[in-house]
Symmetry: C2
Subunit: 133 residues, 2 copies
């Protein structure tokens, strides 16, 4: 076994990112792989964080925001640092996400109405007589 760490190349293939991006995230303190000499070795924890990074990006969060949020997820595994402050931050993030979810639901509903309209127009175009119904 390879000690369950991964090289930068393996990470890139696994997550479809470039080495440049991984080093950039490290510089911005979103990742901190083990440094053995010059080389980097990414632990399972790094992988979990990268998943969250990419997810956060998809939802339009900046890397700075994501870095702060990663602190929250991180302390699940034992650290007892300012728990109540962390709870507050987590709840703010939760409110943020649920608001986004609601807005997304609205957007989806509206889009579905648009699609229905287009379907109707197509139907009337292919069979104009049915417009009487």
């Amino acid at each position: 076994m390879t000690d369950d760490t991964m090289t930068i190349g393996e990470m890139c293939r696994a997550f479809d990112v470039t080495p440049r991006a991984l080093r950039f995230y490290e510089q911005k303190e979103l990742l901190n792989p083990i440094r053995e000499g010059q080389n980097r070795f990414y632990t399972p924890r790094d992988r979990a964080r990268l998943k969250l990074i990419l997810r956060g990006k998809r939802f339009g969060f900046s890397l700075a925001e994501i870095r702060d949020l990663l602190e929250l997820y991180h302390l699940g595994d034992g650290q007892i640092t300012q728990l109540s402050a962390t709870l507050e931050a987590a709840e703010r993030h939760h409110a943020d996400l649920t608001a986004k979810r609601d807005e997304l639901a609205t957007a989806i509903t509206e889009l579905e109405q648009q699609i229905q309209m287009i379907r109707k127009m197509l139907a009337e175009r292919s069979n104009p007589r049915s417009a009487a119904e």
Copy 2:
């Protein structure tokens, strides 16, 4: 009545954006207000489009993507241009949004678990004996 159009300043106050942003969106062909001499007058249609622009930004879409999507929403009001192609594009966008919705739901669930963990840790901290249960 003021012809139901708005000046750039009114738009900025209504949507909390800068004039610079509105002119930028116009340059990128996301908006096209009426030009009366030098000045711009934004119609209800511009306002509807701006709403969608800002929403799209919140979901992490680029302005170029949003511009393309606006074409879809637009043709609801009469134009019959490539209806079936439009339907396809709309359905792709729909798939995109629902995927985002599902991923967001996952993220929210995970965050809620984290919050539960933090609450538990706080409870045990304030009343350590209950850890025996």
